[in-house]
């Protein structure tokens, strides 16, 4: 008696689910039209203009510019500093995340909120704040301004939240019982960390590292006030691009910008790949 009643209800429900879930064809087309028009005007066209400009000088011209001494120095410095900074924040960011999840002390909520400060604070202000403490009028006697150390300092500031925020949720989900089991079987603290905690955190750490790397490669605001922008010494790629535009060499700016853009694409792909890897158990 009941069975047919259910099936008559279920059939329209399935149709309805399709209707609600997929949306009408006309409205899909409309919303996709709006989205793609917006993205084309705001994002795609400008990027196309950049690729076009760099193509104008040909692959020979491109290599000529990218291998010019000042560009090479700027790119080397940018990638070198970014890698150093990312390694520092991988270690200290993981420790910070661990302290925020496993430790307990007064004012922890405040510390947790402060982590996002670099996301909220304009980068130029970040640069100025670091300049007041570690610049020429430093009250603590550290004069790092206009050196390469200043660049590392500025990049540490702006990329600080990434690793903390990608490791924190993973650590939160991580079962303490696994570690306790290992310890009860005689594993030392280091073995527990290396064999159990670290492998679980690694995807989180890596995605934080990749995001931080992308941020560090393109950073300008915090670096520009702090580094002094001395060519061949403290001039990072983004400042190089800026200076080339200002002095009327957009072709030089475009060539180096293409290198940064390519790096950004690769890093975005890496983030996508890591996300795919991290959710492999959920998908299976």
């Amino acid at each position: 008696m009941e069975a047919p009643a259910i099936s008559t209800v279920a059939a329209p429900a399935a149709r309805l689910s399709r209707k609600v879930g997929a949306g009408g064809r006309a409205s899909t087309a409309l919303s996709l039209g709006v989205i793609s028009t917006f993205l084309t005007i705001v994002v795609v066209l400008p990027l196309a203009a950049l690729v076009w400009e760099s193509k104008k000088s040909g692959s020979h011209g491109f290599w000529h510019i990218v291998s010019s001494p000042e560009a090479v120095a700027a790119l080397k410095l940018t990638f070198g500093a970014a890698v150093v900074v990312v390694l520092i924040n991988a270690v200290l960011g993981t420790i910070t995340a661990w302290v925020l999840v496993r430790d307990d002390f007064r004012g922890k909520a405040l510390v947790n909120a402060v982590i996002d400060l670099p996301f909220a604070l304009p980068t130029i202000v970040a640069g100025l704040t670091l300049l007041t403490l570690y610049g020429p009028r430093s009250p603590v006697g550290v004069h790092a301004a206009f050196t390469r150390a200043a660049i590392v300092l500025a990049l540490c500031f702006v990329t600080l939240p990434f690793v903390v925020r990608t490791v924190q949720p993973v650590l939160h989900e991580l079962d303490v019982e696994m570690e306790e089991a290992a310890r009860s079987l005689g594993a030392g603290q280091f073995a527990v960390f290396r064999r159990i905690v670290l492998p679980n955190l690694l995807p989180g750490i890596l995605s934080g590292v990749v995001l931080a790397l992308a941020r560090a490669l393109g950073e300008i605001g915090s670096v520009v006030v702090l580094s002094g922008n001395i060519p061949y010494h403290t001039e990072v790629a983004s400042v190089f691009i800026f200076n080339q535009i200002e002095t009327g060499y957009p072709d030089y700016a475009a060539a180096v910008a293409i290198v940064l853009l390519a790096a950004a694409f690769v890093l975005l792909l890496a983030v996508g790949g890591l996300r795919f890897f991290a959710t492999r158990h959920e998908r299976a």
């Binding site: 919303s31 302290v99 130029i124 535009i245 950004a264 694409f265």
Partner: protein, 265 residues
């Protein structure tokens, strides 16, 4: 216990050295000589104009990107279409690309004479580059991803059973959106709006390239800070920075208040 204290000291020490001490120092230096110079620096007409430009750009970019972000999130989560992966990647792009590169892209597009649209625009007497439109375009570009990125996961978790139920009861598409979808994602939208606003107010790299930094005309709050720092007008630079830092702290408070509710929706 000792290890725990050691790690706590390392983490907190790092935060103090990198974040808190420098920020505290700015507050100290700003008010070193009392309130009067701060007030004087902030009432400088060029500084006031710079804040005005920043507010206009933010006021245009935030609503645009909020509507776009919600639309985009709905399309990515609820609809099937070819090129979805591409759309997903393009939304994230402004996060990974250097702001200076974004500025350069706009420069190449709108530069008078040499830009793609430059000659047409200047022939019709429209100034985009080194004027407000370019500042707005740069601000919109850099803040594209935030609302979409916050709304997508919330929308995924939400599912669409409630909307199906509403549809069976005869609700139209608009009614379902306004009465069910939007109230359910509102905290994610608000969180995204807070992040977008912070990014718009603080944008420097892209704006510095396309604005031309003309005092009293196209300077924004952030490029004003750079200008004042460069000219050793430190009192002014600190005062403007202080206002921006105060806004950043408000943003942090808003983030902290909103975040716990996000999961509870």
């Amino acid at each position: 216990m000792l290890r725990r204290l050691g790690l706590r000291a390392v983490a907190l020490g790092y935060l103090v050295v990198i974040l808190l001490a420098p920020l505290g120092m700015v507050f100290y230096r700003t008010f070193e000589k009392g309130l009067h110079p701060v007030w004087q620096a902030l009432s400088d007409p060029d500084t006031l104009h710079a804040f005005q430009v920043t507010l206009i750009a933010t006021g245009i970019a935030v609503p645009l990107n909020t509507v776009f972000g919600v639309l985009c999130a709905l399309a990515i989560v609820r609809r099937r279409f070819p090129g979805k992966g591409l759309l997903n990647a393009f939304i994230d792009l402004p996060l990974a690309v250097s702001p200076v590169v974004i500025g350069l892209c706009l420069f190449l597009l709108y530069a008078p004479r040499t830009g793609w649209f430059g000659s047409w625009l200047s022939a019709h007497g429209i100034r985009v580059l080194f004027a407000l439109p370019a500042i707005v375009l740069a601000t919109v570009f850099v803040s594209v991803p935030f609302v979409a990125r916050e709304v997508i996961p919330t929308l995924r978790e939400l599912g669409n059973e409630q909307e199906q139920a509403a549809a069976t009861l005869g609700a139209t598409r608009w009614q379902r959106f306004w009465r069910i979808t939007l109230p359910s994602i509102r905290w994610a939208v608000i969180y995204g709006v807070v992040l977008t606003t912070a990014r718009c107010l603080g944008e420097y790299g892209a704006v510095a390239v396309v604005s031309g930094n003309i005092q009293g005309q196209t300077e924004t709050a952030t490029t004003r800070v750079q200008e004042l720092t460069q000219n050793f007008q430190t009192a002014g630079a600190f005062a403007v920075s202080l206002v921006l830092a105060a806004i950043a702290i408000l943003v942090l408070v808003a983030m902290t208040v909103i975040r716990p509710r996000e999961g509870a929706v």
